[in-house]
């Protein structure tokens, strides 16, 4: 029974994945916040809820949050780990992230902000807070009205 549920859950996950599958260029036109994470990295785990919230908040601002599993796990393992870590934004394996042409980070976590053409606009080393990200986006000329601030304004 447990295996059936597990298989069913995996099927759902894969379906969701296929539906939202990102090759690195499928979101051309959007800014991207690319967060390298790893299961063994404590600061990575700490900032995941912030990125989950931010992914929702920035949905209407054409800014996408994308995670990359820093370890070289295959997709099914990456999905399992992402689920265990509570990651709710799109996640790529390291291999899948190759087309982003980002230098593998020296420090975990590391977060890149990419322009719509894929160019690196900012490299944020170490654990980030929501305000760090929003401030940096603002410095880059993005007038961000998050879903949260919309609700607050209302």
């Amino acid at each position: 029974m447990k295996n059936s549920v597990s298989r069913f859950r995996r099927l759902i996950l894969v379906t969701i994945l296929l539906a939202t599958s990102v090759s690195a260029h499928s979101q051309e036109g959007d800014w991207q916040i690319v967060n390298y994470w790893s299961e063994w990295c404590a600061p990575c785990r700490i900032e995941i809820p912030m990125f989950n919230a931010l992914a929702q908040e920035l949905e209407f601002a054409n800014v996408r949050v994308v995670g990359i599993n820093f370890d070289e796990d295959p997709r099914d393992v990456t999905l399992d780990i992402a689920e265990e870590m509570g990651i709710k934004f799109r996640t790529l394996t390291l291999e899948e992230s190759a087309s982003l042409a980002l230098r593998a980070p020296d420090v975990m976590p590391t977060t890149y902000i990419l322009k719509p053409d894929g160019a690196v606009a900012a490299k944020l080393i170490g654990m980030q807070e929501r305000e760090d990200i929003l401030t940096r986006l603002e410095e880059l000329g993005l007038a961000i009205t998050t879903d949260v601030s919309r609700r607050e304004a209302q």
Partner: protein, 409 residues
């Protein structure tokens, strides 16, 4: 300025354990010293699907190679000795299907005369990141490995790892580790501590200390024996998130207040996963480390001639095309070896830099191609006489541990 004169690779009549001499060369330094170097790839006793290797020697110069091989969920920790006729038949130390097997935090084998100590990491709870350090000991009386024991007494399900071991007198071993017992104190992730203990040849704990109450979470520790006593290096973590390399020394029965080896002032709220390495011979101490202040990766080397009481300003070993993963070794002649990863091309390389005792670069040689990826792990080096043994994981086909011997003349 170095002048290199590498001869082309060639094969000659070699002992059974040797496959080929890959490269030889000489260099003449600015001070006129001529340094010859040769790299021999040795046969490997480790099977396919092996990784996480370490090479270690005992005081007689006997070389041991340890590794982890995996088959499904089962991890097996084994070792072999290098004899004149080649590698001995691999001996199993321990195995388990509930181990925490990690590219940066992996088992250590320590050899102390007829005694040995070894550790691995076993998951301790449902949480994916909680694991204990289990160790087993083999002493003169009991040539078999002892029942594994958890070396820390906290009983907290948390992260424990990044072990280093140092042989002491009477077969005892100094074990140093990162201990996450305080990370689970409150709602927020707490601080990683650095702890150490002395364990007898049969595994009984004789002393235990907290060396630092706040260390970087996921960098390797390293220890060495000086004429004044043991020293431990690790990546510190200040209140302001400066994560430079610190050293503490065991003097007169107590540990000194940790002090930075050098003030890089690298401020990061994250994990470099790139610990320092220390080697010592009498009063001579060499520490190599990775830093990346201002997002500029560097490998640096600092020397001490007073058992670590003070250090020279660092010399630059490599920058910026490196991802660190350093090792150090001291030769009988006093020359210093630093291993590091060169990432200047798509194919990363394992490099050895040879320095004089005065930190003059004498020679630099590529040992092998590798990968900058996590799966290639951390190369490990160990010196015997004027030779350095290097072990690493070759990813060119299935992962397999490789070994080379580098001779410096």
């Amino acid at each position: 300025m170095l002048f290199f004169n590498f001869s082309s690779a060639y094969v000659r009549s070699l002992p059974a354990c040797t496959l080929a001499i890959l490269i030889t060369g000489t260099a003449v330094t600015a001070s006129g010293q001529s340094v010859g170097i040769s790299v021999e790839l040795l046969d490997s006793p480790a099977p396919v699907n092996s990784h996480l290797s370490r090479v270690v020697s005992d005081t007689s110069g006997q070389i041991y190679l340890s590794w982890v091989s995996e088959e499904g969920d089962l991890a097996r920790f084994s070792y072999s000795k290098l004899t004149e006729s080649g590698w001995s038949r691999p001996e199993l130390i321990s195995s388990g299907s509930d181990w925490f097997v990690n590219w940066a935090d992996f088992p250590v084998l320590s050899v102390n005369g007829d005694n040995m100590a070894a550790h691995w990491l076993r998951m301790s709870a449902e949480g994916s990141y909680d694991y204990n350090i289990e160790a087993s000991f083999s002493d003169v009386q009991n040539q078999d490995w002892s029942e594994p024991r958890v070396i820390h007494s906290d009983g907290v399900s948390a992260e424990h790892g990044f072990v280093s071991m140092l042989p002491l007198k009477e077969g005892s071993t100094l074990i140093t580790w990162l201990d996450g017992r305080n990370t689970k104190n409150g709602d927020e992730y707490g601080e990683m501590t650095l702890r150490a203990g002395i364990f007898s040849s049969s595994g009984q704990i004789l002393s235990e200390w907290e060396l630092d109450s706040r260390a970087c979470d996921c960098c390797q520790t390293s220890s060495a024996m000086t004429s004044s006593g043991p020293v431990v290096v690790y990546r510190d973590r200040s209140a302001g998130e400066i994560r430079d390399i610190a050293m503490t020394r065991y003097l007169d029965g107590q540990w000194t207040e940790p002090r930075p080896v050098h003030g890089d002032n690298w401020q990061i709220a994250g994990c470099p996963v790139n610990g320092p390495s220390v080697s010592a011979r009498n009063e001579q101490v060499a520490v190599a480390w990775f830093t990346a202040k201002d997002d500029t990766p560097k490998v640096q080397l600092a020397l001490s001639s007073d058992s670590g009481a003070s250090f020279t300003a660092p010399v630059l070993v490599a920058s910026p095309e490196t991802n660190g993963r350093v090792g150090t070794a001291l030769l009988d002649s006093g020359k210093i070896i630093v291993s590091w990863i060169d990432t200047s091309s798509a194919q990363a390389k394992i490099m050895l830099s040879v320095f004089s005792g005065a930190a003059e670069l004498l020679q630099q040689v590529e040992v092998a191609n590798t990968s900058a990826s996590r799966r290639s792990g951390f190369p490990i080096i160990e010196s015997v006489g004027e030779s350095v043994y290097v072990s690493w994981t070759d990813l060119s086909d299935s992962p397999q541990v490789r070994v080379a011997r580098v001779s410096v003349k």
